[in-house]
């Protein structure tokens, strides 16, 4: 088990190195990072001064060593537009985004898992038709469009729910719902597929042959065995919601990481874009690692196989 843990940790670390290399070369891909960041009508002198101030005129290898050195100290560089360390901005914007993503995740779990499970246990029942329908909706209706429909046809007519900003609990309702929507349908589909797979196992057939009623089998046999894949999906869901929050935050002017990224993109604040990308990747890799650990701790098969 310790061996598995160390191997997984090492893998995550290698991925992180890979991501940091990508993030470094990303803005240098076009060959001229200065013209990416500076306004088009800047003079030659301004360009040179900018390159000098940000170290773009040095050899690539020196820049890379410098970048990695700073990264190891937790320094993700400074934002061009705010002129403060990017980590400071990220730390400020993180709580609102987590608040939104976490609430959406809970909503998605509460709706998605029971619906998918019932659909999988009773295939072709009306509940299954509903679960398949909801599973399809999330792939069909873009979250940003749904969010706008909510504003146009729910929030504005009833004039009760705030449509932008973060002021109190009621301003969370619409963004949470819009963000959870895609997550619900993904969870429904995955839960349903996992449950159906377990339903095909021999021990389920044995249980049914013994004459146990389907609901009992569903709860005691199917769900316990389907729980593990669902746990691992939950981890992935959280990072997925973090990505989706870019649209939702933008529509509802939610002061989170998504709007920070959008603002950085519009203002060509590439050091900040780099920092946010690196942070989100770091977060995603950590979540994957943690989910694998939980998986290992919970699943007796993996536990015994690796000890």
């Amino acid at each position: 088990m310790a061996q598995y843990f160390i191997r997984r940790l090492l893998q995550s670390f290698i991925l992180l190195i890979g991501v940091s290399i990508i993030v470094f070369f990303m803005i240098r891909l076009t060959g001229d990072p200065v013209s990416l960041m500076i306004s088009r009508d800047a003079t030659m002198e301004q360009r040179q001064a900018f390159a000098e101030a940000n170290g773009f005129n040095r050899p690539m290898s020196t820049q890379f060593v410098d970048y990695v050195g700073k990264l190891l100290q937790g320094d993700l560089g400074n934002s061009l537009q705010y002129r403060v360390p990017a980590t400071q901005l990220i730390a400020q914007r993180l709580p609102p985004t987590f608040e939104l993503a976490f609430l959406s995740l809970i909503l998605a779990l509460v709706i998605g898992i029971p619906l998918g499970a019932v659909g999988g246990i009773y295939p072709n029942s009306w509940m299954d038709v509903l679960s398949r329908f909801i599973g399809l909706l999330g792939q069909t209706i873009p979250s940003f469009w749904l969010a706008m429909l909510l504003v146009f046809f729910v929030a504005v007519p009833i004039d009760f729910l705030p449509t932008f900003g973060r002021r109190g609990i009621e301003s969370l309702i619409l963004p949470t719902f819009a963000l959870a929507f895609g997550g619900v349908s993904q969870l429904v589909r995955l839960t349903r597929a996992t449950v159906m797979e377990v339903m095909g196992e021999n021990y389920i057939r044995t249980a049914a042959a013994k004459g146990l009623n389907p609901t009992y089998i569903g709860i005691h046999y199917v769900l316990r065995n389907a729980a593990l894949p669902i746990i691992s999906v939950t981890g992935v869901q959280f990072t997925y919601l973090l990505g989706g929050s870019v649209y939702i935050e933008s529509i509802f002017s939610w002061p989170g990481l998504g709007t920070l990224l959008e603002g950085a993109i519009t203002n060509r604040d590439f050091p900040l874009v780099q920092a946010i990308t690196f942070f989100i990747a770091l977060f995603a890799i950590s979540v994957n690692f943690l989910t694998d650990l939980i998986y290992m701790l919970v699943d007796p098969r993996i536990r015994s196989a690796t000890s």
Binding site: L15, Q139, T140, F153, T163, T239, G244, N288
Partner: protein, 298 residues
């Protein structure tokens, strides 16, 4: 002789017959094919269908509501946007953007997937390690963030969008193809063919590839739908094709300025509906294809 031929046909129906046999029974698949075909025909005959050009009109005719709403006119079925451009015509032309991105993006991703996935499985060793590392790396970053950032750097053009989706979409294909090649290669019939002296290219072409084609087509269909979805999202954030190009995401985005007042909602509603219809069509088609190619359900 004729008799034997008939028996053979009955025992081994062609794939086309199998598909035909499936079609009437599957309502979802039928709807999917009809919707997708409808959008494809719209894209092909856009110039004949659209009453106006996609940038035709002036600000004098701006924000005319849909025909059935008070103040609307039958000249502009779905109304006009802030530029005075006809929304119905722009939706018709927008189908070309979405389908182009979907077809070429998924096509490029599938092509890269087949090439790199096969290479990883066949050469093994260092080649496999490098390709797998690339796959894991791309898949470790939330997809939306990855695409947003790359699109920001490369700038707005249809070509760039296709390229970005093709490259970032390839890891899913690589992973699938690599796994399938590994699996199929160990099957008895492939081992038998190899022991009869078949060369690797022959094994690949005659025994392995035909057996993963179904899974490949299914995956490509779903990827096409998700690329259309992501393109709309990028457009919405102003990172896909230039703003005057009638992409559905751009059009939804144009309605954002009315979120505060809740007016002129048709500007965002109809293009979004178009995204939903095409996604629904392709997804239903994908579900149906998956069932058709899944040997367990045959």
């Amino acid at each position: 002789m004729t008799k034997i031929k008939n028996v053979a046909v009955a025992a081994e129906p062609s794939r086309r017959q199998k598909i035909r046999r499936f079609l009437p029974r599957d309502v979802g698949g039928t709807i999917g094919i009809i919707l997708t075909a409808f959008v494809i025909l719209t894209a092909v005959f856009a110039e004949q269908i659209a009453p106006y050009g996609y940038k035709e009109g002036s600000r004098r005719d701006a924000r005319i509501p849909p025909a059935w709403v008070e103040g609307g006119t039958t000249a502009h079925l779905f109304g006009t946007d802030v530029q005075g451009w006809d929304i119905f015509s722009r939706i018709v032309y927008g189908s070309q953007v979405s389908l182009t991105v979907g077809i070429f993006g998924a096509g490029l991703a599938a092509m890269l997937g087949v090439i790199l996935g096969t290479m990883a499985a066949f050469f093994g060793g260092l080649v496999d390690t490098i390709i797998t590392a690339f796959v894991n790396l791309i898949l470790s970053v939330p997809y939306l963030v990855l695409v947003i950032v790359i699109a920001t750097i490369f700038g707005r053009s249809l070509f760039n969008v296709i390229l970005i989706f093709g490259v970032t979409g390839s890891p899913i294909f690589i992973r699938m193809i690599r796994g399938e090649v590994f699996r199929i290669r160990e099957q008895e019939y492939v081992l038998a063919a190899r022991s009869l002296g078949a060369t690797s290219p022959r094994l690949m072409a005659r025994h392995i590839f035909p057996n993963l084609a179904g899974a490949l087509i299914t995956l490509a269909t779903f990827e096409m739908s998700s690329m259309i979805f992501y393109e709309a999202g990028l457009s919405f954030l102003g990172l896909s094709v230039p703003p005057d190009v009638p992409s559905w995401g751009n059009m939804v985005s144009a309605g954002r300025r009315f979120l505060v007042t809740g007016s002129n909602s048709w500007i965002a509603v109809f293009p979004g509906l178009a995204i939903a219809i095409l996604s629904l069509g392709i997804n239903l088609m994908g579900d149906w294809l998956r069932d058709v190619f899944d040997p367990r359900k045959r």
